[in-house]
């Protein structure tokens, strides 16, 4: 090889046929007269040959199959082809698979029971479910609106939403199609004052027919029985899983919203039944966690699950001593599945937003996310997790450690509403439209109650929050920007602009530094249990 390289890049460009006609003439003349130039050109050819000769290794053998899997997963998320995704076995996937299997089995049984108990359609309206009415608390005149899901043995799907004064109707509900039978009620105005919505959770078989889990989601202004919080918690069985006979079970599809009427304590409420696919929701959550590089802490997850299961078993035993009929519910049917992840807010918000988007939002109600737990409970108070899950007992410290990302700030209410509009727009939750924070009295009442969150929660570790506060307080007083409240849901909202952290904490207006603090999150799934009480026949 020549020890003196060419003095310009013309020869290299000549080799690549990338020279101008003028350069070409000059270079050809040079090559005729200069042996060094010819040698350089020859060496360029050798370099090229070497590079191409040595590039012979094949792609990894698993590449094609991984591409196929990825495409299948993406297709599944897009809901274009409902296919089964072949996955590498893992503990988490095994557990989710068990949960899905349990959900499907239980749902099939529930559907069977429901189909066996479909009454005469002509009497459907008059024969409202009295079992629900008997258990429905009285309306709370002062109160917050509680969006409560009467899932089949799924107390996690009970949500308190933000305060809404009675009398303020849910506009989405009012715009819902109303069957002609409403004209015969004679009391339809009451539906404006008391909204009652339900969601029907179903999973679809491959043939496209409904076969599985149903749950009801109610959004009703009602009074929580403060005297018996534990009963409202984990061990509480659903009040009813009965579906009105006028709902066409054989033709409804995933995503359908079916309104009907129900007599609740002498008042007529409009109820929306929404059909969702639990199976897809669970699978998608796992997939999106992985896609957003959110690791799952298997050890912590197992630890939490053990605690949950022990607690559940204990409660079942206690309940069984009181009423043997409750033992119809098998432990396996009530199995809880914890997904413990540690991620930044950005990661989690992205995953959740994708989740909302990919499932077209309707599927969200198929997931039962746990009530909020504070950061310390994830690290030190694992033993108390079941209690934390069933009834939030926020200490002042815990309350301070809770940063509410959306709804407590009236300033950001509108913005947050946009950020979470994907959920609110389709879920049958009543969203608060008032900008006023809950009164102290109502807050005090709520603190006595078990609270549940169906919206997503995110917890900021206390130390990170302190940092956040320190950085924010420079710009504005804390009270103006943060209103720590244990009763408010934490929403992993991701603004469309992508400035997730800024907007989520309301810092964008102050130009405060973005903090990408790790967030510990525990999502709990609970398999749908078989209802212990068969719906009353008509």
């Amino acid at each position: 090889m020549s020890s003196h390289p060419p003095s310009n890049d013309n020869l290299s460009a000549y080799f690549d046929h990338e020279v101008s006609p003028e350069e070409l003439c000059v270079l050809e003349s040079l090559l005729e007269n200069s042996p060094e130039a010819r040698q350089e050109l020859h060496e360029l050819g050798e370099i090229s040959r070497l590079l191409q000769e040595t590039a012979t290794e094949p792609a990894p053998p698993e590449l094609a199959s991984s591409i196929r899997r990825r495409i299948e997963q993406e297709t599944l998320l897009a809901e274009t082809v409902p296919s089964t995704v072949e996955r590498v076995p893992s503990l988490l996937r095994y557990r989710i698979a068990v949960a899905i299997s349990a959900c499907s089995s239980v749902a099939a049984l529930i559907l069977f029971i429901l189909l066996m108990n479909i009454p005469n359609p002509s009497r459907s309206f008059e024969t409202a479910d009295r079992s629900i009415l008997a258990n429905t608390p009285q309306p709370d005149t002062d109160a917050t609106v509680m969006s409560r899901e009467l899932a089949t043995a799924d107390p996690y799907r009970v949500a308190f939403n933000e305060s809404q004064k009675p009398g303020i109707p849910d506009r989405r509900l009012l715009t819902a199609p109303v069957p002609p039978v409403a004209l015969h009620t004679g009391d339809s105005l009451q539906s404006d004052k008391q909204d009652h919505k339900e969601a029907l959770v179903a999973s679809k078989s491959r043939a496209g027919k409904l076969m599985s889990s149903f749950s009801f989601r109610n959004s009703v202004a009602e009074k929580e029985p403060a005297t018996d919080p534990p009963q409202r918690a984990m061990g509480t069985e659903p009040q009813s899983s009965k579906i009105p006979s006028d709902i066409p079970l054989d033709t409804i599809r995933i995503g359908d919203v079916i309104p009907y009427f129900r007599d609740i304590d002498g008042k007529i409420a409009v109820i929306e039944v929404r059909v969702v696919d639990v199976k897809q929701a669970l699978g998608t959550m796992e997939l999106l966690l992985a896609r957003n590089d959110i690791p799952v802490n298997q050890q912590k997850q197992s630890e939490v699950e053990d605690q949950l299961q022990n607690h559940w078993s204990l409660k079942s035993n206690v309940a069984g001593q009181k009423d043997r009929s409750d033992q119809d519910t098998d432990d396996s049917e009530n199995e809880l599945f914890a997904v413990y992840v540690e991620a930044t807010e950005t990661q989690l918000a992205t995953a959740l937003q994708d989740f909302q988007k990919d499932l077209k939002r309707d599927q969200l109600v198929g997931l039962a996310l746990q009530p909020a737990i504070n950061a310390s409970s994830l690290t030190e108070q694992v033993k108390e997790l079941p209690q934390l899950l069933t009834q939030r007992t926020f200490s002042p410290k815990a309350a301070n450690a809770t940063v509410e990302a959306k709804s407590v700030r009236a300033l950001d209410r509108k913005k947050a509403s946009v950020a979470t509009g994907g959920v609110a727009g389709n879920l049958p939750f009543k969203q608060s439209t008032t900008a006023n924070p809950p009164t102290r009295q109502s807050m005090a009442l709520q603190e006595k109650r078990p609270s549940y969150q169906t919206l997503y929660r995110m917890q900021i570790p206390a130390e990170e929050q302190e940092k956040l506060v320190q950085q924010t307080i420079i710009k504005q007083p804390l009270s103006r920007k943060f209103n720590f409240s244990a009763e408010q849901p934490l929403v992993a909202s991701k603004p469309a602009s992508g400035l997730i952290t800024d907007k989520a904490f309301g810092l964008n207006e102050t130009n405060a530094p973005v903090i990408f603090s790790p967030v510990k999150v525990l999502l709990v799934f609970k398999s749908t249990a078989i209802p212990t009480t068969v719906p009353a026949s008509h």
């Binding site: 090889m1 690549d16 040595t54 094949p58 590449l63 196929r68 990825r70």
Partner: protein, 207 residues
């Protein structure tokens, strides 16, 4: 674009997605080889190839067919690779010799591809790999795009978003540096070729 590619794309667009598997099998080796040299990591190359094929699948209806399918696929994959590289913010820009000290990704696992002089070729591969490993990324990428993908300077300028003149000079510098690094190999090779050539010429002269 070959007729076969066009046929497979049409089949895929018609809903027979298994046709895309044929496109994957057809182009995965070529794409992977280039990406592994561009990214300097076999793992990153695999991920980028997967991302590229996946994106191509879902963008297939936007493929107009004016260019070759592979060119279109490569652009998608290259962009995915660069995005991935920026996202992960890897500090290392060299090939993964530490991850694969034996240069495993260079090893041809298909025995049918092994010529008799496999040891010599393997050694040469390692030397070239080492030389590429030491080459700066800004020189390596244009050079690889030129040598392995046969891209014109204009295409390289477009895909890498650098000026045409810079592409030209970087390819020149890349070759120059690579030549220096492969000096020993080159000298031996040249010597053997020269001696072989001398021998052949002497034979012809004697004839």
């Amino acid at each position: 674009m070959t007729n076969n590619d066009q046929y497979l794309i049409q089949e895929c667009l018609a809903g027979r997605t298994e046709a895309f598997d044929q496109l994957v099998l057809k182009y995965q080796d070529r794409l992977y080889r280039t990406l592994v040299r561009v990214l300097g990591s076999s793992d990153d190359a695999r991920d980028a190839a997967q991302e590229g094929f996946t994106q191509a699948f879902f963008k297939l209806n936007s493929f107009r067919g004016t260019a070759a399918f592979y060119s279109w696929l490569f652009r998608i994959s290259f962009n995915a690779a660069i995005s991935q590289k920026r996202k992960t913010k890897r500090t290392s820009t060299t090939l993964d010799t530490q991850e694969n000290p034996a240069g495993n990704w260079l090893v041809d696992t298909h025995p049918e591809n092994h010529p008799p002089d496999v040891a010599e070729r393997s050694e040469r591969k390692k030397m070239v790999h080492q030389a590429l490993n030491e080459l700066q990324e800004e020189y390596r990428i244009p050079l690889i795009l030129r040598e392995l993908e046969g891209m014109s300077y204009g295409e390289i300028a477009e895909i890498t978003a650098i000026p045409l003149g810079t592409v030209r000079s970087r390819i020149f510098r890349g070759r120059n540096e690579l030549k220096q690094k492969l000096n020993t190999l080159f000298q031996n090779d040249t010597t053997s070729r020269v001696s072989r050539s001398d021998h052949e010429s002497s034979i012809s002269e004697s004839k």
